[in-house]
């Protein structure tokens, strides 16, 4: 009996009971689909994180006090550190605070407030949609001027063209809109960055009621200098604040690698869960194949009586198992791809099925079919034809 004939027999056996075959393969279908979805999610998340970290700006190093360390930065530290650390081309303090109500006419919305310096625009790599950015004069003069994000604008019912020059109330204080930012997209944590109101950090100290910046941003000329700058800053901070790890200093690369290693661990964990479900699917196939061998004892006996050798019977049942698992694997890939696509639409992030995960899932499914189909097939091939024919 050649391979083609065995394949035809197996297809016939599977076709005879489509529902049962589908249920048998369900474990494999779910397992493979899960592998595909988990990997696509992981890769999508990694890409999103990378994009958000890049959206911070270019070649940035960020320093912020560790929570609970009691360390307080001052605005002047940005300038003095820029003078002490070579390769730093720009530095600024950033004051961030709680959200505040923003009101225009009868419209109001919530926005997060940030006190920044004029370098903010270039350091963050952001662009204006209208108007101009905060100037050094406004910083020195504690001017009540604001640059607002797109979401704030929309919520207030303003458009970039009409917004500049209008007076809004931020936390009860009157501000003049100086400029409007182009959309920034999601931040590192996935939060929207467009629901934002920027003002000179000198002004913000009154509004936010804090004299201490939450972060210091440093820009380096070239990405390769970032690690050295991080090291130097670490050293300076450990002299200034002699407690261990009082200040966190991280470059964008480090931020990215920390975030994506968390991501990788998660993907790996979920992936192994999926692999276990593939194994369980294999056991399901073995179970049904064993039942099938018993049910078809007379068929096997007849085949052997008219000349089927052991390997003919073995091959027939093995192919049936592999067809079940391979078919299940294929349905699983299709199902996983569909779910990934729909998920991408739903989460509004582009997610792609990696061909590698499809190939790995499918080969795993086939291997599961071979491994778990082997025993029932061997069982069938060893049946004694007389005994098998006599069975009713």
């Amino acid at each position: 009996m050649n391979l083609w004939e065995s394949l035809r027999m197996a297809v016939l056996a599977i076709r005879t009971s489509v529902l049962r075959s589908f249920l048998t393969a369900l474990g494999i279908i779910i397992g493979v689909a899960t592998v595909i979805i988990v990997v696509a999610l992981g890769q999508g998340a990694r890409a999103a994180v990378a994009q958000r970290v890049e959206s911070l700006g270019t070649n940035l190093v960020i320093a912020f006090p560790s929570p609970g360390s009691g360390v307080q930065f001052t605005a002047g530290m940005a300038r003095s550190l820029k003078g002490r650390v070579p390769d730093v081309t720009a530095a600024m303090p950033v004051f961030s605070g709680r959200g505040a109500a923003v009101v225009w006419h009868t419209q109001n919305t919530q926005a997060s407030l940030q006190g920044v310096s004029p370098q903010w625009l270039s350091m963050r790599g952001a662009h204006l949609a209208a108007g101009s950015f905060i100037t050094s004069q406004q910083l020195a003069g504690r001017s009540r001027v604001a640059v607002v994000g797109q979401t704030v604008l929309t919520n207030l019912g303003l458009s970039p063209a009409t917004a500049v020059g209008r007076q809004i109330f931020v936390g009860g204080t009157a501000f003049t809109i100086e400029g409007v930012l182009q959309p920034l997209g999601a931040g590192v944590g996935g939060q929207s960055q467009d629901s934002i109101v920027l003002m000179p950090y000198t002004t913000s100290q009154d509004i936010l009621h804090t004299a201490y910046p939450s972060e210091l941003y440093f820009q380096v000329a070239q990405a390769k200098d970032a690690a050295l700058v991080v090291g130097t800053l670490d050293m300076i901070f450990s002299h200034t604040y002699p407690r261990p790890n009082a200040v966190n200093v991280a470059s964008q690369d480090q931020l990215l690698s920390t975030l994506s290693s968390v991501n990788r661990t998660l993907t790996l964990t979920l992936g192994s869960v999926a692999a276990v479900s593939l194994l369980v699917g294999g056991i399901g196939i073995m179970n049904i194949m064993l039942v099938s061998v018993v049910e078809r004892t007379r068929e096997i006996g007849l085949r052997k009586a008219i000349g089927a050798r052991r390997r003919d019977v073995l091959r027939q049942f093995l192919i049936e198992a592999v067809l079940l698992s391979g078919g299940g694997g294929m349905i699983g890939v299709a199902f996983g791809a569909l779910a990934t696509h729909l998920g991408g639409l739903l989460l509004k992030t582009p997610m792609a099925v990696s061909p590698v995960s499809a190939a790995v899932g499918l080969s795993f499914a086939l291997a599961v079919g071979v491994v778990f189909g082997m025993w029932p097939a061997a069982q069938a091939s060893r049946l004694d034809p007389i005994m098998a024919l006599r069975r009713d």
Partner: protein, 246 residues
Amino acid sequence: MTAPVVELRGVAKTYRMGSVTVSALRDVDLDVAAGDMVAITGPSGSGKSTLMNIVGCLDRPSQGSYVLAGRCVDGLADDALAETRNRSIGFVFQSFHLLSRLSALENVELPLVYRGMGVRRRRALACQALADVGLEDRMHHLPAQLSGGQQQRVAVARALAGRPSLLLADEPTGNLDSRAGRDVLALFQGLNDEGMTVVVVTHDPLVARHCRRILSVADGLIAGCAEVAAGERLLAAAAAPGGDRA
């Protein structure tokens, strides 16, 4: 008559079940010449099926030797026995044993599939065999769409398709009414007239009368052998409605 197709010498079959041993066959010598048609009769439990299974290479004797068509098959491994069954023996069972998912034609082709024959040749042989049993118009029917007699004729076609040197049937009419049974027997008789060696197990004396010789088995031994008179055989054939076909 020419050289024997079946040559059993001192064949015994013992089943061991715990401490009890059952002797299904004890010291059987049997010769079946090419072109012979032998009926094996005997009471239930006398060892007829056991004997047939050994002759059909489905089972091995505990003792003694078996030469099939000039070739000793003692000590052949399972797969070698399977090949011997495939090439040299056609088996007809009491309960037909057709595969329900396959058409009549595909059922008849099955032994040739295991022989590794190409699709075109085996289809031609299977069609021929189905025509020989008068079922050329039922080739694409499933077993469930055929009458019992027709199913048994498909089974006979399956046994014939590979042109075996020996046709074996264990109670081939046991599940058929007398008319369908006579049809099948007439078919056997016609095949035998064309030179096929046939061995039939039966406990129906009317069936046995179609054969040339009747062996009676009792308690694991061959107890007697009787020739059937040619005239009686002709009568048996004439009594079968399908007999004019053969």
